[in-house]
């Protein structure tokens, strides 16, 4: 035991805290009224950039709990250059992510070879019915507007920052 008994030191600490709280205010964030900005990398919701998707099914296969549902068909598209052959492209009919199953692991975004899936830090999409958590491709496409620009990297990194296609167009 030192000069001041530990009980008194502890009481002093809480007393300091009450003064700090009264003067500076509590650290509490009153959620619906105030909001904290999540980090740009935060895995909030998956956004789909439909034009890039070739319905290759990689994401659906790699998903650990198989919560991505994809259907597509082949279609003939007009040739890129005049006089060329019509191209055959994969057209997306259905792209659903069931957020009631999703574990937010990010594997789908990572494996996508065509940069069609992106993470958005948006988190306010709770629903009253669990079935409404199944987001179809229009809803997933709408999240695209909330996708932030990729952050720059810390010094010494060799990885190059990617670009978000939807933002490029704007």
């Amino acid at each position: 035991m030192g000069l001041v008994p530990g009980l008194a030191t502890g009481l002093g600490i809480t007393f300091k805290e009450i003064i700090k709280t009264v003067v500076k205010g509590a650290e509490t964030v009153q959620y619906p009224h105030e909001k904290e900005e999540p980090a740009p990398r935060a895995r909030g919701v998956i956004a789909l950039h439909e034009e890039n998707c070739t319905s290759c099914m990689l994401c659906a296969r790699e998903c650990p709990d198989w919560c991505i549902y994809i259907e597509g068909h082949k279609e003939l598209a007009p040739p890129r250059r005049a006089g060329g052959k019509p191209r055959s492209v994969n057209k997306l009919d259905r792209f659903d992510i069931d957020y009631s199953l999703c574990m937010y692991c990010g594997i789908c975004v990572e494996v996508c070879p065509f940069e069609a899936l992106f993470w958005s830090p948006e988190y306010e999409y709770s629903e009253l019915k669990i079935a409404d958590l199944l987001h179809d491709k229009t809803k997933l496409g709408k999240w695209m507007t909330t996708v932030p620009e990729f952050e720059a990297y810390e010094a010494g990194a060799e990885v190059k920052a990617k670009k978000v296609p939807a933002l490029e167009k704007k």
């Binding site: 809480t14 007393f15 805290e17 009450i18 509590a26 509490t28």
Partner: protein, 415 residues
């Protein structure tokens, strides 16, 4: 005795008594509700949080809302419970809590030798519901009765955790009642009376040097106050002595099986007890409504109210502060603190205090002057205290060794 009751009782006196009782009940309830809010708000501030803030301004109606919610909850009586005692227990806990509150002088002018009486409808009365001549003893009686509520609740629940809680409650009550009583005895010794009004009046006078007030905390020499504060906190089952309802150990302790309005009654009783105990401490050791004498009474009888509430608030804050900062004792540590420290300490201090009083009156006549007598008494008393401490310690060590040998161990090995 209240002055208006001295000259016989007529109809007006009865009306006044009833009015005072109702008023006190309302004050007590409002104070309790305020206390619940105050506790939650202060604890949240101590923990860097906001606390209740949606019902009413600053969340002050939160307690009311909680009460309404609990009122409409299902009233669940477990199958194993003893239904009658189970229903009875919350009231046994609540009523003594309120009855103690009737003893407390809430205000009045105590300066210049006034006895704190105010004139209401032509009748002189104290600002307290009743001033029985046995004052303090009534408080002790009621605080012991309050434990019955907790004990019976735990027993009647027919479940194991509440049973453990109630066993703890009864043991705690028994051991701390003694320390509480002995530290009170010091106050009674100084005052020479048991009535709350006389205790306040005695403290209202001018103290040492005219600036330091004549409060009992100084007159009795701090130790009875410290003992009373610790024993009182234990009696309240408030942290750090809340073994009775220790959440992490006994889930909810004695009220584990209670729900709805019955739980609310326990909750109310607990906080009412807190307010009452703080008020008792203020009255016994800090002069209650009597402010420091040199400041006079600028507000008339409201001065008393002002001082009383101010001191009360300080103690309520202290209770909350302790709760937020201190961990909980273990059951046997609590017992040993009570029996091995608080009771011998308050008993010894009472004897010293008594000796000093006798010596100061000059009745001893050992030395030439009363002052010399006092010094001798103090010297002898401290010598006895030291010897007593040594004897007590060695007795405890010996007893422990004997028990270890009886259990078949070499005491040196075990330590």
């Amino acid at each position: 005795m209240d002055p208006y009751l001295l000259d016989g009782v007529d109809f007006g006196d009865v009306v006044l008594s009833v009015a005072k009782a109702i008023l006190a009940f309302v004050i007590c309830l409002v104070a309790t509700m305020f206390m619940v809010w105050f506790e939650r708000k202060v604890v949240s501030r101590l923990q860097n949080r906001i606390g209740p803030n949606t019902s009413g301004p600053f969340g002050i109606l939160q307690t009311l809302m909680d009460g309404i919610k609990l009122f409409f909850k299902e009233d669940n009586i477990p199958k194993e419970a003893d239904p009658f005692v189970f229903r009875l227990a919350p009231y046994l806990s609540l009523i003594p809590a309120f009855l103690t509150f009737t003893l407390i002088p809430l205000g009045g002018d105590f300066n210049n030798g006034n006895d704190g009486a105010v004139t209401v409808f032509g009748r002189e009365t104290f600002l307290q519901v009743a001033d029985p001549p046995v004052g303090i003893l009534f408080f002790l009686a009621m605080s012991s009765l309050g434990i019955y509520g907790i004990m019976l609740a735990g027993w009647a629940s027919g479940s194991k955790y509440p049973l453990l809680g109630s066993v703890r409650a009864s043991a705690q009550a028994i051991s701390y009642e003694a320390a509480l009583g002995l530290s009170l005895a010091a106050v009674v010794l100084v005052t020479g009376g048991l009535s709350m009004n006389s205790i306040v009046m005695q403290q209202a006078g001018e103290g040492f040097g005219g600036i330091i007030p004549n409060f009992n905390i100084i007159v009795t020499g701090f130790i009875p106050f410290a003992v009373f504060l610790i024993a009182g906190t234990a009696e309240l089952n408030r942290p750090p002595f809340d073994l009775v309802e220790a959440e992490q150990e006994l889930v909810g302790g004695f009220h584990t099986e209670y729900s709805g309005i019955r739980f609310a009654l326990f909750f109310l009783a607990e906080f009412m007890n807190t307010v009452t105990m703080a008020a008792i401490i203020v009255t016994l050791f800090f002069g209650g409504p009597a402010g420091p004498a040199f400041l006079g009474s600028t507000l008339g009888w409201l001065t008393g109210m002002f001082w009383f509430l101010l001191k009360l608030l300080v103690f309520l804050f202290a209770f909350v502060w302790f709760r937020a900062s201190l961990p909980r004792f273990r059951y046997d540590q609590l017992m040993s603190l009570g029996w091995k420290l608080l009771i011998p300490l308050s008993l010894g201090w009472l004897l010293v205090l008594a000796g000093i009083r006798v010596a100061r009156n000059g009745d001893l006549g050992i030395a030439d002057s009363a002052f010399g007598d006092t010094l001798i008494v103090i010297g002898v008393a401290f010598a006895i205290l030291l010897i007593g401490m040594y004897v007590l310690r060695s007795a405890m060590t010996n007893a422990r060794r004997d028990r270890l040998i009886a259990a078949g161990f070499n005491p040196r090995e075990v330590n």
